[in-house]
């Protein structure tokens, strides 16, 4: 069966190479049948990749240890769900997942746009070009279909990967990462076909939005996973692997905004081409970082051959994008100019600059070890203080802009108009700031600023909805008739919640650590934590040790928590302990009381680390609101669809 998988991948490779070469010739020499044939090849590559994926999934499901990949990542005891998720648990399988999503998306995009033959003639070879790289890697460098004499049992899956997060996090991230390839391909296709209209933007708007949504949700799930499973008390560590997903997301956020300006005012055409390319290149760079171990390790490429291939591909794509944009610069002239620095276009521009600045500083931080090694011969790295500084410097103004943007009119806003619309949000911010300072929140100035700006943004968003509802009559109709705009405001509200949650749980958190004997207690934030004893439990594959800790406020018990450790005697890495944190969701501050059993001695001494993280649960709530807002913004609008169909129909003869 592995042979079928290999054959299917070889077919995929052949098909995408044909689509690339044949499609390019067809587009350049204007050959209709060849273009259609290339399109069919791209569609067929999804079928063959699906077959290959099916082969791997089937092998995983039936414990076929003759597949090296199955033997390396699963064992007989592993439940079916995790066996299937082992598909993306290793290098080769995750590459296959990437190709599967890419070919699926490509097939869908090509199918939905098959009538715009002239644009698709060039989009097909670009999509095929990206797929060629991944198919090549899967066929000749890193194949999931290697076979060997089947061992009696497989190596099994690392315990930390055996949880529902592993089922959701990578696929969602891939739906996001790979999704950014589609707008890139359409943009390059538009340039290659010398089109000056906005068709490619209209065609890819929902693709960009959905990729961005998946990437955002995927990251939040990853953060939640880190928070509850790895359990160091935080949710984001500025690790290169985490940044790998954040950077394309920031670039895509900037692109989503600036593309609106191009649609409305015909400006920023070159900028949008650069942004969409940046988002795509960062998505490839992101997966390259995650797999090659280039940054985490000290001495890079020699350790992982796959890194070299990816780097080469990134360079080729960068040269292609930059070269093409440069060659087509004359076509990308703006139709209008920015009329006023006080206009919604201008705020979008500032928003873009801040987002890109943040993205690039993160990129610099991630690349710094490699750059310093190359330039000074010594590897240096930056850490949390660096990232926090720039998150504050660029992120806080961004937060404020989120509130300012909706209040400013397009084209030109007079100061009188601004005075009217700004008045109440500004008042809300000042009052909030004053109250917070009075309550002692000035212990952290970034936190104080975040909260104050949030008050401004909250007031601004509420007013948008109130004013809009008054004008249209009902909230439902308001949102229904302006899905993009009000869906966008809902997403802004989600980002606002996210900002408040992050500010509260980082700027205003309390941490205490102590070694405790049974009966002793530790105090923090008005709560007393008393260590009552130890409990041990034996399960199928682990010994679970839990410390019983009672949390009391005054005379009443707030909760009983059970932080501890699990010992897994048998794993691919030998005996393993895993940290099991205990979290109490405190309704008083919408935050968490977070307990970590740092160390449990044989004599029963517990080294307890306790954190109070106010407002942290807003972060997860924000995820749901973000999802909802994105869906509203994406929701098809019959009126708009009709108008667009009429616009792009053939000219009346």
């Amino acid at each position: 069966m592995a042979a079928l998988g290999r054959a299917a991948l070889l077919l995929s490779f052949g098909l995408v190479v044909y689509a690339l070469v044949g499609g390019s010739i067809a587009a350049a020499k204007r050959r209709r049948r060849l273009a259609l044939s290339a399109q069919n090849a791209l569609l067929a590559s999804f079928a063959t990749t699906l077959v290959a994926a099916g082969v791997l999934w089937a092998a995983l499901a039936r414990h076929d240890f003759s597949f090296v990949y199955v033997a390396e990542h699963t064992n007989i005891q592993l439940p079916l769900g995790y066996r299937l998720s082992a598909f993306w648990g290793g290098q080769e399988g995750s590459l296959l997942l990437w190709l599967l999503v890419l070919s699926g998306y490509s097939a869908l995009a090509v199918w939905l746009n098959r009538r715009t033959r002239e644009l698709m003639a060039w989009v097909v070879p670009v999509l095929a070009g990206v797929a060629t790289f991944f198919a090549f890697m899967l066929c000749f460098v890193s194949s999931p279909f290697g076979t060997a004499p089947a061992p009696a049992d497989g190596a099994g899956m690392v315990p930390s990967l055996q949880n529902p997060y592993m089922l959701a996090h990578p696929p969602l991230l891939y739906l996001g990462y790979v999704g950014l390839t589609i707008p890139f391909a359409f943009a390059m296709g538009a340039l290659l076909s010398r089109r000056t209209d906005e068709r490619w933007i209209v065609a890819t708007r929902r693709w960009t939005l959905s990729a961005w949504m998946f990437l955002g949700v995927g990251q939040l799930i990853g953060a939640h996973w880190a928070y509850v499973e790895i359990g160091w008390g935080g949710y984001y560590a500025w690790d290169p692997v985490e940044n790998a997903a954040l950077m394309p997301w920031l670039a895509a956020t900037a692109f989503l905004h600036s593309v609106m300006i191009q649609e409305k005012r015909g400006m920023l055409k070159v900028w949008n081409m650069v942004l969409v390319s940046l988002a795509f290149l960062l998505s490839i760079f992101g997966t390259f970082l995650t797999r090659s171990g280039v940054i985490n390790s000290i001495h890079s490429f020699s350790q992982s051959p796959i890194g070299g291939w990816f780097l080469g591909f990134i360079i080729i794509c960068t040269v292609f994008a930059v070269g093409l944009i440069y060659l087509r610069l004359p076509l990308l002239r703006a139709r209008t100019k920015l009329e006023s620095l006080v206009s919604r276009e201008a705020t979008f521009l500032y928003n873009n600059l801040l987002l890109v600045a943040l993205c690039l500083t993160i990129l610099w931080g991630v690349m710094y070890p490699l750059l310093s090694q190359a330039v000074r011969g010594e590897t240096r790295s930056v850490s949390k203080p660096y990232y926090d500084f720039f998150l504050h410097t660029f992120g806080l103004p961004l937060l404020l802009l989120m509130g300012i943007g909706p209040l400013v009119a397009w084209r030109r806003a007079s100061l009188r108009a601004l005075g009217k619309t700004f008045l109440i949000p500004l008042a809300a911010a000042i009052v909030t700031g004053g109250v917070l300072i009075g309550l002692g929140f000035d212990s952290s100035w970034p936190g104080l600023l975040a909260y104050t700006f949030s008050a401004f943004v909250a007031a601004s968003i509420v007013f948008e909805f109130v004013r809009g509802t008054r004008a249209t009559g009902s909230l439902f109709r308001l949102i229904g008739k302006n899905r993009r705009r009000y869906g966008g405001y809902i997403v802004h509200a989600a980002i606002l919640l996210l900002a408040i949650g992050i500010a509260g749980s980082s700027a205003y958190q309390t941490v205490r650590e102590r070694g405790l004997h049974v009966g002793q207690s530790l105090e923090l934030a008005g709560t007393t934590l008393t260590y009552e004893g130890l409990q041990t439990r034996q399960t199928a594959n682990a010994v679970e040790t839990r410390a019983v800790v009672k949390a009391t406020r005054g005379n009443s018990t707030v909760a009983t928590l059970h932080p501890g450790k699990n010992l897994y005697p048998v794993t691919p890495l030998g005996p393993q302990t895993s940290n099991e944190v205990s979290i109490y969701h405190d309704p008083r501050n919408l935050g968490d009381l977070f307990l970590i059993a740092d160390q449990i001695d044989r004599n029963g001494t517990l080294y307890l680390k306790a954190l109070v993280k106010p407002l942290v649960n807003l972060i997860w709530a924000a995820g749901f609101l973000f999802l909802f807002g994105s869906l509203v913004a994406m929701w098809p609008d019959a009126v708009e669809q009709r108008r667009l169909a009429e616009r792009y129909a053939a000219a009346p003869a």
């Binding site: 990967l161 790895i230 692997v241 985490n296 001495h299 201008a346 600045a357 240096r380 740092d598």
Partner: protein, 132 residues
């Protein structure tokens, strides 16, 4: 502003961002060196020490602390670093595990910053376990 204020704004903003960046780097320093035990003797400043655990003993939560010995991840097979550490120890810590710890060399012993020990997870798909 008749001639495209956009260009001016962009230029000024980029300049401002760069200025902020340069000032920050000048003030806060350009990162921390990441070194292996073989290079340790040459550094008296705060560094990030990367190495593989050879042996360890003691208790990181006791006053005496955890003492462990690191060797190079690659090259210089004889190089050793002696580390004294207090604070949280990651679950994956153990002999032959690759770890990163920050601190400074004092009298031949690398005194680590409390809680700065982290391990690199051998699988490619989980980020390094952090303790701070």
């Amino acid at each position: 502003m008749r001639r495209s204020p956009a260009r001016l704004v962009i230029a000024l903003s980029v300049a401002a961002a760069l200025a902020v960046f340069v000032v920050y780097t000048a003030v806060a320093g350009a990162g921390t060196p990441q070194i292996q035990p073989s290079d340790l003797a040459r550094h008296t400043d705060a560094v990030l020490l990367v190495g593989k655990v050879v042996s360890s003993s003691g208790d990181a939560h006791s006053t005496v602390g955890l003492r462990f010995v690191l060797r190079n991840v690659n090259g210089h097979p004889r190089a050793r670093a002696h580390v004294l550490y207090h604070g949280t120890v990651p679950d994956l810590f153990g002999v032959s595990r690759e770890v990163v710890v920050s601190g400074t060399l004092h009298n031949g012993v690398f005194v680590a910053t409390d809680g700065s020990l982290s391990t690199k997870c051998p699988s490619k798909y989980t980020p390094a376990k952090k303790t701070t």
